[in-house]
């Protein structure tokens, strides 16, 4: 049994981070990358050992590390420890985080080598890997906590890493400040969600007198009986946190902007791991959600609506990463819908397979971008400054990369087909399980939304693959694009293999993952395999790809040609392209008014009223004194007159009393 090793999933990345921080400068790029990757890899190794231990001993084990907050009150104890909880749910997350994380670390050695040179500051290579290890650390804290407060530490910790990495090139982006603004937006949108998390914790403590999972879940039914309202309130406030971290309606707006971060970051944090924390949180809190059907329905509908809404936007994007970003929001919607319906295993299954294929797609997109950037450098010498405004992420500048970047093309295709849900790739099984659960759990509305979203998914992925890899190059850099070195392509191949065979994790009828998770999540119902539904989903996916082919594949886009879909859909396409003006809406409704209010409070109120009142009091006193001073004329005759008047008054008083 290796349970005692559990804290090392956190300690290894900590060591990696500290070593790179202290001596990284002397190690060189390969040394830095090797240490960071090794730290993530060792963490993965520990997670594997923990998985083996759990296979033999499936009961949850909590390993105490140190005491943390010791507050005892008559209403309950806030007595929390730094502890690592090892159960099948947390270990599943650990495996994904450290496993996919290690591959992305290795890829990033190659990617960042080029990226820091492209952006003109090689010194920042080390900083990148320090942040990446910090992220693994925070994510491990999040998934291995044995109480909500420690989860929250990881929850905000990964948010910090996200902030740091989105703003990694903080002097770049629109007007030189675009990336920094994107980072801030992510942090603040997440803080709005965290507000919900805080309130949920307060409510939990007031109902249970504890924040420890064991105390809460064991008494959930009892509390629900006594105060049903409070469970509903807890789960709804928690949903707010989920919509922040997992980029759901209405707080999803930060994730597309988060693509400002280097591409390995988009893959690791903004696709494979961090953004799934919300899904994990609902799965972790299954004991609470199962007792609040209204909250469950709300979660399911938020997920389903997000899945469809984000998919419509993905259809009309031109930036290769933006398409994937909206796709991620949409796929997170699938997972949130699943855990909302109570299909926790299905949600977790899709979380795992999505980590494989979306991680793969982002990394391959990074490979494409750097391939094109390479071509840009090649042609830039010849063309001079004419290419200054060239955007290596715009798919309209690509085309025909299939022959120039063979490995990238094939792995991209695998990822895209897996995402589209084509049999027998990973996405087919996991998405189908969610659809089957929706049918079984009698959620026809959710089912319709998700099927429509699945159709759009296949369509926009088809559109992307045809625009990027097929036809002829639509720009010089694309024509001179170059495949990347094996350090980058090998992790891609590994992820591609996982995307192809990942469905084996939870095959219909076998339900490996479901059985595994059942030790932690009680009352799981294995999803039935519904053949007609599976065939329908497959048909819908194929139809999406066929439509994409007929629009973008049959006659490939030419240089400068408008998107054929914009003619067909007209204003609808414009809406999708402009992201339904949600950012503008928030700007008018929230950000603008807050600016105005703050300005109003700072000037007219604070300076004009409050400060002026204090100073006014001073001026008043001064005026009064100046007036009183006139009494002191210095003339003896006036004083004598005053004395006389006073004497008369006193005498009069005595006489007429």
């Amino acid at each position: 049994m290796y349970f005692n090793l559990a804290p090392w999933v956190i300690i290894f990345p900590l060591i990696g981070m500290v070593v790179n921080l202290l001596v990284g400068k002397r190690l060189g790029e390969i040394g830095i990358g090797a240490i960071a990757s090794l730290a993530a890899g060792l963490s993965f190794g520990v997670a594997v050992l923990l998985a083996f231990s759990l296979a033999a001993h499936p009961e949850a084990v909590t390993v105490q590390v140190a005491e943390w907050i010791p507050i005892y009150t008559p209403l309950g104890n806030l007595a929390l420890s730094w502890a690592v909880r090892v159960d099948t749910l947390s270990v599943t997350m650990m495996l994904v985080v450290a496993g996919v994380g290690t591959l992305i670390h290795i890829y990033a050695i190659g990617y960042m080598h080029q990226d820091v040179r492209h952006n003109g500051d090689p010194g920042r290579f080390r900083r990148f890997f320090v942040y990446m290890n910090l992220f693994i650390l925070a994510m491990m804290v999040l998934v291995s906590a044995d109480n909500y407060l420690m989860t929250f530490v990881g929850w905000e910790g990964v948010g910090l890493c996200s902030y740091l990495l989105i703003g990694f090139w903080f002097e770049k982006g629109q007007d030189g400040i675009g990336n920094a603004k994107a980072a801030k937006k992510a942090f603040i949108a997440n803080r709005v969600g965290d507000f919900g998390f805080l309130i949920a914790m307060f409510l939990i403590f007031s109902a249970f007198g504890s924040l420890r999972f064991e105390d809460i879940f064991s008494r959930a039914a009892q509390v629900a009986q006594a105060q049903p309202g409070i469970i509903l309130a807890i789960t709804l406030f928690m949903l707010l946190a989920v919509t922040g971290k997992s980029a759901q309606l209405p707080l999803y707006v930060w994730l597309p902007d988060a693509m400002a971060g280097p591409t390995p970051v988009s893959a690791l944090i903004h696709a494979a791991t961090m953004v799934t924390a919300g899904v994990y949180l609902v799965a972790r809190s299954n004991a609470l959600y199962s007792l609040a059907p209204v909250a469950q329905n709300t979660v399911a509908w938020v997920g389903a609506a997000t899945a469809l809404f984000a998919a419509t936007i993905a259809v009309a994007q031109y930036d290769i990463k933006k398409v994937l970003a909206y796709s991620t929001i949409s796929q997170l919607g699938f997972m949130v819908a699943a855990v909302g319906m109570g299909a926790f295993a299905a949600g977790m299954f899709h979380l795992v397979t999505h980590a494989f294929f979306k991680g793969l797609l982002f990394l391959s997109a990074g490979s494409v971008i750097q391939g094109v950037e390479h071509g840009e450098k090649h042609t830039g010498a010849a063309h001079g400054s004419a290419e200054a405004s060239f955007d290596p992420q715009d798919m309209r500048n690509m085309g025909g990369l299939r022959s120039r970047m063979k490995v990238t093309f094939w792995v991209y295709l695998a990822g895209a087909l897996a995402l589209a849900g084509i049999f027998p790739l990973a996405g087919f099984f996991s998405k189908d399980e969610i659809l089957a659960e929706a049918m079984q759990l009698n959620q026809p509305g959710v089912l319709v939304f998700l099927v429509l979203a699945a159709f759009l998914t296949a369509f926009y992925m088809g559109r992307q693959v045809f625009m990027v890899f097929f036809g002829k190059a639509r720009s010089d850099p694309a024509a001179h694009a170059q495949e990347n070195p094996p350090l980058m392509t090998l992790p891609l191949v590994a992820l591609a293999v996982l995307s192809v065979i990942g469905g084996a994790l939870n095959l219909p009828g076998v339900h490996t993952l479901e059985t595994w998770l059942e030790h932690t999540i009680g009352g799981l119902q294995p999803a039935e395999f519904i053949l007609p539904l599976a065939l329908l989903a497959l048909a819908v996916a194929l139809l999406g790809i066929f439509l994409a082919w007929s629009l973008y594949g049959r006659s490939p886009l030419k240089h400068g040609q408008v998107d054929p879909l914009s003619k067909t859909l007209g204003p609808v396409f414009r809406g999708m392209e402009r992201k339904w003006w949600v950012d503008e809406f928030y700007g008018k409704l929230v950000i603008g008014p807050y600016h105005a209010l703050a300005g109003l409070l700072a000037q007219p109120v604070d300076q004009g009223v409050i400060d002026a009142a204090g100073n006014g009091l001073g001026t008043l006193t001064q005026g009064l004194s100046a007036w009183l001073r006139r009494v002191q004329t210095g003339f003896v005759r006036s004083y004598a007159l005053a004395v006389l008047a006073g004497g008369v008054v006193i005498l009069a008083y005595i006489i007429f009393r």
């Binding site: 910790g157 903080f170 965290d194 805080l198 600016h595 604070d606």
Partner: protein
């Protein structure tokens, strides 16, 4: 046991040794004067650690007590009475901890009349320690007023362009409040025949209306100092004009004197009135949290932004105090006083470091600094995050305890107060990240910023102790809670009893 030493008196008055030595130094011997001041304050810090060593965490009562009758007026006995307990020990340590750091920060910044500066600084420390240790109301008032004078001169002589205006404003606002407190102290002492705080608490038995008036007399003085909305308008001016070290002490310690006063005097002496007025004070605190955050957001001067952030942060402290029971909120409040001292002290040091280089604090003229000053950027980010209340750092532990305690409190409407105050957590991220973005991120557009030199070892040394505290309290707050808990539990029990009796 006090080893026959008058340890608390020694801690309080030890800076006088430094004052005496400096008096014999020539104004031109700047280095000697600086070293004398630094070593004196370091020794004072060492003495306060000795206090900590002697302090028993299991004892909720006053410890290391020193008491001697001083004078008798009109049947009221005034005594020289010092003592320390869980409510004050951390604040004493904060004072002696921050003072040498503040002095270290003046090494290059203060070149003019160093002798006078250091003398005032050492006298300042005496006043502050005395405020936290005095257990007699008159003695407390003496220290309270005494601490006002050195700060008045520090702002008025070594301050910025509008220093005279700011210094007078600071003095008058505080004085106006103090006068009401003085009246309340005299009334109380003469009515009860003693000015000793423990005796007054033990006697109790004040009629409800009397309690109310006396409560207000004390509370207004403390509210100006905290400062509570809407009595805060001296603070931004004082901070903007004060020299860096003055701001560090002003935000780090002087503001805590107000919050500490509410805790030590209002809650202990007037429990019924506290219970009665708690919802009002909590409401004012919540308004202050949101108001300070909103106003901070639109400031253009870094120092003003940090000053308004103090209004917001101290709102949390007062909210926690007037959550009354359960004690978790008061424990959080005391810890948050320390946290604010550490984090905001560090923030002012950071502002000072850029000001020394650029002679401006206008955020519009900065930007992209992280690129030229990576160490400075990274350390500033840590401090800013601690002020935002990121979990794993100090601010979060305090804020969370306060909000949770307030949410559970029996004070009317308190779950609403906690819920609305939690919005302040979002707004803190808005204004502080705005500042970070304006100063550190983005392109280096202004050529004046391009040649800036990164932090010198001395500057890093100044920040280092504060950074250690940020993570220590954030990751392992247990020893701090251990110091606070017994005395707070005692206070909470007294409040509980008062609540029961006022029902019957």
């Amino acid at each position: 046991m006090n080893l026959g030493l008058h340890l608390l008196s020694l801690v309080t008055f030890f800076p006088l040794v430094g004052v005496l030595v400096i008096l014999f130094l020539n104004d031109q011997q700047k280095t000697a004067i600086r070293w004398t001041a630094l070593l004196t304050t370091l020794a004072t810090f060492g003495l306060s650690l000795l206090v900590l060593l002697q302090f028993s965490t299991s004892n909720p009562d006053l410890q290391l007590v020193e008491r001697a009758t001083w004078v008798n007026i009109g049947g009221g006995e005034i005594s020289y009475f010092l003592g320390v307990d869980g409510l004050s020990i951390l604040l004493l340590l904060l004072t002696t901890f921050l003072t040498p750091i503040a002095i270290l920060s003046t090494w290059d910044a203060v070149q003019d009349r160093v002798k006078g500066f250091m003398i005032f600084f050492l006298l300042m420390e005496i006043g502050m320690s005395g405020v936290f240790l005095a257990q007699d109301l008159v003695l407390f008032f003496v220290f309270w007023e005494f601490s006002l004078v050195p700060m008045y001169f520090l702002i008025g002589v070594w301050g910025g362009p509008r220093r005279i205006y700011a210094a007078i404003k600071f003095f008058l606002y505080t004085m106006a409040g103090s006068i009401l407190m003085l009246v309340a102290i005299l009334w109380l002492g003469l009515y009860q025949g003693t000015f000793s705080l423990p005796d007054l608490i033990a006697k109790g038995g004040l009629p409800a209306t009397t309690q109310l008036w006396l409560f207000l007399g004390f509370a207004i003085a403390f509210a100006v100092k905290v400062p509570l909305f809407p009595l805060h308008s001296w603070l931004p001016d004082a901070h903007v004009e004060a020299p860096t070290a003055g701001s560090v002490i002003l935000a780090g310690v002087l503001l805590k004197m107000g919050a500490y006063g509410l805790l030590r005097f209002n809650l202990s002496l007037f429990p019924q009135a506290s219970i009665q007025l708690a919802p009002w004070l909590a409401a004012i605190a919540v308004i202050g949290i949101l108001y300070g955050a909103a106003v901070a957001f639109v400031q253009k001067d870094m120092k003003k932004l940090v000053a308004y952030s103090s209004v917001s942060h101290l709102g949390f402290v007062v909210l926690g105090l007037f959550a009354l029971t359960p004690s978790i909120a008061i424990q959080g409040s005391i810890l948050q006083m320390i946290n604010h001292g550490v984090s905001t002290g560090a923030l002012f040091l950071i502002v000072g470091m850029i000001y020394e280089r650029r002679h401006t604090r206008e955020m519009d003229r900065l930007g992209g600094i992280w690129k030229v000053m990576p160490v400075y950027g990274a350390l500033s980010l840590i401090v800013i995050l601690s002020s935002i209340g990121l979990p794993g750092m100090n601010g979060f532990v305090g804020e969370f305890s306060i909000l949770l305690g307030s949410f559970l409190s029996t004070v009317p409407y308190s779950p609403w107060f906690a819920g609305i105050a939690a919005l302040g957590v979002i707004l803190a991220a808005v204004y502080l990240l705005h500042m970070f973005e304006k100063v550190f991120l983005g392109p280096l557009n202004n050529p004046e910023n391009a040649g800036l030199k990164d932090l010198r070892p001395r500057e890093i040394l100044t920040l280092l102790p504060l950074l250690v505290m940020i993570f220590w309290i954030g990751l392992y707050p247990k020893p701090f809670f251990a110091l606070i808990t017994p005395s707070v539990a005692k206070l909470a029990a007294a409040l509980q009893t008062a609540a029961m009796t006022s029902i019957h």
